[in-house]
Symmetry: C2
DNA sequence: AAATCTGGATGATGATCATCATCCTAACAA
DNA sequence: TTGTTAGGATGATGATCATCATCCAGATTT
């Protein structure tokens, strides 16, 4: 751990990365500054050389989480034979359900975003619009309802993942994922 | 403020009620014991005459929030000419969006339930199953897909409300509610 | 009516937290 | 090489929090 500017940038990115993960797991208010810094291999004191306040870290962490969601989506779709199926199957997989820390920011941070400041909400809104646009493309209908159906599909996928994570019954959780997978795929006819 | 047993029961119920509201607004970890007690017209000290720990209050508050969701649903449906439309229009209204404290527990507490203990998750699961059963009835199809469609509808409604609350853009928020309203109603043919 | 019980108030307690002041040391400019 | 800058570590700070000990007064019991 040197003191060069490269090191600072690297540390900064590392802090944000860790925060983006932990905050998706336990909410934006969940992890403390000390916990985040420790996980980044640093001590809590240096935190304010990187951020004016913890709230500023929340803003950057949400941006990072959203960026990851975006990149993850692109990766899954890219080059897939059936892009819609690939996207939906990945989004509504047990693996995605069980790894909120690296998963969709819209579902993991929805409750927090509703209470957050303008900057966070704007970032969040951007990703929602991107998901809708993405599904408009994938649903690819010629009808004028494409946008409406895209919004419905995004809502169903987000709701499904939220509920599948919270439900105590493993079988029900799987059933909820499977049902929405089938329901969205059906729209593709 | 007397000291009779009736008073205690009343205070207990009041504490739980307040907590059920505040926790839907700011998460189960949001409001402190002192804040809740003050809102209930009491001081923080007496809290442990009612609960062994704050976690026990969370359990009772989630139960109360779920009970309210259940009763609210029944009320809206009861005697409506078109019960499905009545339910969906109420659930996906701007009023419901803007009042999380008295609204659906499944959407308000989803993120918290995923991290909570067994008792909370069991309560949460019960309400999810109730919503699904409710929509199975309302969708009233003869096909074997009713349950699947019911799950998809519940997911879409929950996701829609979550996103509509978090999105910074008022117009987009309204559009998301309207789109899912139309989408679910369409299934009723 | 006296004695007991108990719900609620007051006021610690220790833990955790975000924030900051200070110091050390490695990077970089001269 | 030397002096300056600034990133990171150490260790306060005050605020907030859940929890609990103690006390008071009203309720309940005898």
């Amino acid at each position: 751990m040197g003191h060069s500017q490269k090191d600072k940038e690297k540390n900064h990115a590392q802090i944000v990365e860790i925060a983006a993960q932990k905050m998706r797991e336990s909410g934006t208010e969940g992890p403390g500054v000390a916990e985040i810094m420790k996980a980044a291999g640093l001590t809590h004191g240096g935190f304010y050389k990187h951020f004016d306040s913890r709230d500023d870290l929340v803003v950057e962490a949400v941006e990072a989480a959203v960026a990851q969601s975006r990149e993850g989506t692109a990766e899954v779709i890219e080059g897939a034979e059936d892009p819609l199926a690939a996207f939906v199957d990945w989004y509504l997989s047990s693996a995605h359900r069980d790894q909120p820390g690296t998963g969709c920011a819209v579902v993991a941070l929805g409750a927090d975003a509703a209470r957050a400041d303008e900057r966070v909400r704007a970032t969040y809104t951007g990703q929602v619009e991107r998901y809708i646009a993405q599904l408009e493309e994938l649903l690819a209908g010629e009808d004028e309802d494409v946008r409406r159906r895209a919004i419905a599909a995004v809502s169903a996928m987000v709701g499904s993942l939220l509920i599948a994570r919270a439900v105590g019954d493993e079988d029900l959780s799987e059933e909820i994922l499977a049902a929405v997978r089938a329901s969205v795929a059906e729209q593709h006819l």
